[in-house]
Symmetry: C2
Subunit: 228 residues, 2 copies
């Protein structure tokens, strides 16, 4: 069984690198330290990964496996918008729990450089946005909605990492602001009337059944005139 030993060394190198990165998140790490921790010498590392960037890529891919592994356990609530919400929170939680991985994945800003593994969560998000668009839930093209969510989600996560201070309220505010922006809860001028109808219809005991029905009728009349 050669693959046991080969795979073992490779995984041990990745695991050692991951440990070092997790031990000093955001800091640079030394290949020799990785080799010492793995009990190997440098040419072995170079045999498997070719360069430091190759090792980093492998570690990042490993990090995304972890991330998507956690995430896949709770997928598909049925509602794409709700899935985006859950994905947002999972994204932030992963970043705060694994700042070392996360800074490698999204914190190394360099023009034109985005690790290939980044595309996986991006495509999941794009799929959710497409489904939401199919259901008519979006007021912007699905690709822009996905980009909007991704950008703000990464932004709020990175910021919490650099400030070394989780801020659930901020994350929730940005999340809801983003979802409102792509679903257009804010900007349709006719929406307040529709919402008012829903609110009134939900509590018929306040005004009584008859008055509520009349209220709904009147509001609908006004809404009809608004379309002009």
């Amino acid at each position: 069984m050669p693959e046991s030993s080969t795979s073992d060394t490779r995984e041990r190198l990745i695991s050692s690198a991951a440990d070092l990165i997790a031990a000093s998140p955001g800091e640079d790490f030394s290949l020799r330290a990785v080799c010492d921790a793995a009990g190997v010498k440098m040419p072995t590392l170079y045999h498997f990964f070719g360069s430091k960037q190759g090792l980093i890529d492998a570690v990042v891919a490993h990090g995304f496996d972890l991330y998507l592994g956690e995430k896949s356990a709770m997928e598909s609530s049925g509602d794409p918008i709700q899935d985006i919400r859950a994905g947002w929170d999972a994204h932030v939680a992963f970043g705060l729990a694994n700042p070392g991985f996360y800074t490698l994945m999204y914190g190394k800003v360099r023009p034109g450089y985005s690790p290939a593994a980044q595309s996986r969560p991006s495509e999941i998000l794009r799929g959710l946005a497409d489904r939401a668009a199919d259901q008519g839930r979006l007021v912007v093209p699905p690709e822009q909605a996905a980009a909007h969510v991704l950008v703000t989600n990464i932004g709020v996560t990175l910021r919490q990492i650099v400030l070394a201070r989780p801020d659930p309220a901020l994350s929730a505010a940005v999340r809801e602001g983003t979802i409102a922006a792509i679903t257009g809860t804010a900007e349709r001028p006719a929406a307040p009337l529709t919402t008012a109808v829903e609110i009134a219809a939900a509590r018929p005991e306040i005004l009584g059944r008859t008055q509520t029905q009349l209220l709904v009728e009147w509001l609908t009349t006004i809404a009809a005139h608004q379309e002009d």
Copy 2:
């Protein structure tokens, strides 16, 4: 006049470093290259800045001077929300025009590390948020509004840098989504009722004066019950 020469060498070092950084944005740079470009040897650099981080800090401070210099030219439109809009666009424009500086300022993500110079634009933003709050324009505490704007503004700028592709539509969408979120155009549960009242009151001819008055009264009743 010794201060002429001292200041000269120091500035020349910063300028050389800035040039190198601008020449290969996001990449690491060598102190020897900086010294060669400035026509000095390394101990001179260490005399002025003490360490590489010291030089980076000086360059970052210089970058913020540039940024705030551009920005101060167009301050104070009178409306704090409008100022936030203009500040957003200036922020993105500076990041895209100076990706080297920008990645040093906001792209080096490391837990607990935020350059001191970052606080300057942050405080300007905080001031605008306070003014907006004084005018009753915000539905969230001013510190959270400022954090929300800063986070999303940085996020959308960093993303455009890593993708090496300006996306004005995305920037505008995120900007307006953020402003909507902090000014509460979207999320107050009582807002639809209030807005419906305004819409109905604005067009009394649709239902007639009496019915409109009654409608407003009923909507207000429901709104009062909503507060429970």
